[in-house]
Amino acid sequence: MGRKDDFFQTLEALTPTLRRYARALFAGAGLAAADDLVQTALQLVASQIRAKQFRPRDANAARLRAYEVLTDLAGRKLREGAATRPSPRYPAIVHGLAELPHDERATLLLVALEGLAYDDAARILGVTREVTLARLMRARAVLAGLDLRPTALLEGTRRATGHLRVVK
């Protein structure tokens, strides 16, 4: 029982980070909806642990599960047509984020904003590491168009598979 309580504590401590992730998944739009999803995701994971449908091996597993459930819920919500128009006060990067497909946005946010390892992000998204990397590349290539950098430099990145280069 003690271990179970530990998982609940882990989830509880995760709330602020999950809110950040949810807010970014909605690209800054639908603040109440994002908080709502975090609440649902946390309660869902907690009740799955309670009902023994999900037995996390460690605190990190519980953490990844919370990200997974939240990503999934947000995907459904967005497919239902929830608004993702960020208000104009947000910086360009957030508007670029809103233009990305949900999968790519989630991948980019898990890695770049939440600082998760590729393997963890792949597990959350239920895809292979290679797919994760490909989505990450696409997302970054699209967002790079927004940057102040000259876009000519970014020609090579339009190909998601990447290219080999001989160093020596």
């Binding site: 602020p16 770049a112 280069r165 160093v167």
Partner: protein
């Protein structure tokens, strides 16, 4: 040409995301040195990461709304009897769904309102406390002794105020309001207003007592006595109520062409300030300090 010698785009991403081991990382960094185009890519992605974090980082530092606190601990039962999430068993459109989400929204609004009321009350209480403290501080008399930080500020300012008093009074050629002939009158006045009324006799050092004034101090008015060495210049003795403690360490600070020496005693801070040489000033300060402390010691003995 081994495979590890090749750097592909994936490696550049992995570098940005901290996914490389140190050896591989060194290799990719070497590669970037020789390929400024790739270095620019990496730089651009790092900038993206920073922009993302800047846009959303604040959310993680906010206090979550009341409705979210304890969400994991409260649990709630939506998943009971449902298959695990991967099978897609969460139906937003299931019959009980809308009612639940509407209720949750209501709770959310209610809790937000509660939050607003609570913070409003807290603000009112804090405001009342501040106002009460201000009234207390303003109406209390005599003013409370300065708290330690204030005293620290004051102690930094004694020499500065002595300097001002010196500049104001010492150069004035007009007759002094209380000259040496009215010394006892002056000392009684200083004792009443400043809390200290002793004029050290420095005639042994060639410093003739000229007279004195009350000068502005911070906690209470300060006293300022003036001495003169014929043909050389005037020396001022400034004293103000101060917390007992050591005078600031360090050599006597010279203000412009002046020498100022500060010391503490008898609950006062003393500053001797004047244009004499450092040695002469030091001797005068020692003489004054000895005389200033002597009456207090006598008073102790008599008691």
């Amino acid at each position: 040409m081994s495979l590890s010698a090749l750097v592909e785009e994936a490696d550049l991403h992995a570098l940005v995301d901290g996914e490389l081991d140190s050896e591989r990382r060194r290799k990719v960094e070497d590669h970037l040195l020789q390929h400024p185009q790739d270095a620019a890519l990496v730089e651009g992605w790092r900038r993206q990461n920073a922009a993302l974090r800047a846009a959303f980082e604040h959310v993680a530092h906010e206090t979550p709304p009341l409705s979210l606190r304890g969400a994991a601990l409260r649990g709630g039962g939506p998943a009971l009897g449902q298959a695990p999430i991967e099978t897609g068993a969460i139906h937003w459109g299931r019959p009980t769904g809308p009612a639940r989400s509407v209720r949750r929204l209501d709770e959310l609004r209610k809790s937000r309102r509660k939050q607003t009321v609570v913070s409003l009350l807290l603000a009112l209480v804090a405001g009342a406390a501040v106002a009460g403290a201000a009234v207390l501080a303003l109406t209390r008399s005599p003013p409370p002794p300065p708290s330690p930080p204030a005293a620290a500020n004051l102690s930094r300012g004694f020499i500065g105020r002595a300097d001002v008093a010196f500049q104001t009074y010492a150069s004035d050629a007009r007759p002094i309001e209380f000259d040496a002939d009215h010394k006892s009158e002056l000392l009684a006045w200083l004792r009443g207003r400043v809390g200290f009324g002793v004029a050290p006799d420095l005639s042994g050092l060639g410093l003739r007592f000229l007279g004195g004034w009350i000068a502005p101090g911070v906690a209470r008015p300060a006293g300022f006595l003036l001495y003169e060495r014929e043909g050389v210049g005037r020396v001022g003795l400034y004293f103000e109520r101060a917390e007992p403690g050591a005078a600031p360490a360090g050599p006597p600070r010279a203000a412009a062409n002046l020498t100022a020496i500060e010391w503490r005693g008898a609950g006062m801070a003393f500053v001797l300030i004047g244009p004499l040489g450092a040695d002469a000033m030091q001797a005068a300060a020692e003489r004054a300090a000895a005389q200033v402390l002597a009456p207090a010691a006598d008073a102790e003995k008599r008691r």
